[in-house]
Amino acid sequence: MNIVKATLRRELLIAFRSPGDIINPLMFFVIAVSLFPLGVGADQEFLREIAAGVIWVTALLAVMLSMDSLFRSDYEDGSLEQLLLSPQPLYFIILAKVCSHWLVSGLPLVILAPVFASMLALPEQGLFPLVASLLIGTPILTLLGAVGMALTVGLSRSGLLLAVLILPLYVPVLVFGTGVVDSALNSLGTAGLLALLGAMLILAISLAPLAIIAALRISVS
């Protein structure tokens, strides 16, 4: 799969040469999470209650903010047309593109989450479930966001429309994601919910690229 390797290489090179696109959503995550204790007060009991929810919601919004850079420049410089006319399997090209986008936008959130979780006084037994749920959940968010982005890339200001389109799809991921941490804090099993999230991820990996291809065809025509 030469094309998968080449696409990953291209996307990561572009990402590291224009670091603003990576750092902005990450900074949003850092700032939003760290403002919470200042806003709601440093009561450990209360922070513990909301920690998982705050981290999940801000991670979700950060992923959504990062989506804009996924297809925008390719649409504007015509690379998207070349991509759609490629004789190579589009499914894998798109998957590689979304995957590299997650590596620079989703993965840093997962890595940072434990730091902010301890700042929000999340008990230790919630830490691993939080990271695990984000590790499975953020790729789903990226894949779903990419479908919305592919549909709206032809519009010049698509931010609000994108949010309206994909937020309903994000809700189940958010509910199950925070559910994993809640179960862990209440000493219930987390395997079932994680498995559900995993099933959603597999479904998204297998179907989202097809939806993205169809949406991109509409956007460029």
Binding site: N2, I3, K5, A6, T7, R9, R10, L13, I14, R17, S18, S73, D74, E76, D77, G78, S79, E81, Q82, L83, L84, L85, S86, P87, Q88, I93, V220, S221
Partner: protein
């Protein structure tokens, strides 16, 4: 016949861009799509390469319906639109090596040679945003040679090129046609090629949508 178009019809905003459009492109032929601004030249090229499906009529690729032979078609047809399809943060070499991979070609060693032949020696590793519009156009055109496609569908390839670049491109187009390849292009520049050029005139086909 490489590409056959039958009874093509397309309208936009209550205006007929073309109707009953029939033509066939054979090996070694150069076709120029003529028409004034807004007459639908770009639309026609995008329809021919499969980026636009707002038309009625039939398009055949080597005797088979185009939509049914997509992969083969994409392999043998190269399209270059108005947009250069060059990522400006990447160097010419990086842009072209992804292009080659996206066509399933492993000819990375040829990239340097092709760039040299487009007068881009010494610019291989410079980010494209540091280059002039004409140089970016050359990078974009370099893909034509790398694509190994039989049919080139090119939209205004002469934009931003200097005099020498125009001559070189004309020579390149002739060479491709002489070697048995075909070309469909639009341009407002008067071609100085010693090669017979067939013409589709879209202005003659325009009209209003019948009520």
């Amino acid at each position: 016949m490489m590409l056959t178009v039958k009874n093509l019809y397309c309208e936009r905003d209550e205006r007929v861009l073309f109707q009953n459009l029939d033509f066939s492109v054979a090996e070694g032929e150069v076709w120029q799509i003529q028409g004034s601004n807004g007459s639908g030249k770009t639309t026609l090229l995008r329809i021919l390469c499969g980026l636009n499906d707002e038309f009625t009529g039939e398009i055949y690729w080597q005797g088979k319906e185009q939509s049914k032979t997509r992969q083969e078609f994409n392999h043998e047809v190269f399209y270059l639109g108005h947009a250069p399809a060059i990522n400006k943060t990447l160097s010419p070499k990086e842009n072209l090596s992804w292009f080659c991979a996206s066509r399933g070609l492993r000819n990375n060693d040829q990239i340097k040679k092709v760039l040299n032949s487009f007068n881009l020696y010494g610019y291989e590793d410079l980010p494209c945003y540091l280059m002039s519009a004409g140089q970016q156009r050359r990078v974009s055109l370099a893909r034509m040679l790398l694509s190994q496609a039989k049919l080139w569908i090119i939209d205004e390839p002469f934009t931003a090129l200097d005099k020498q670049g125009v001559q070189e491109l004309e020579a390149l187009l002739s060479a491709h046609a002489l070697a048995g390849g075909s070309i469909i292009l639009t341009t407002h520049h008067s071609l100085q090629m010693d090669y017979s050029i067939r013409v589709v005139d879209l202005d003659a086909m325009a009209g209003l949508v019948a009520a």
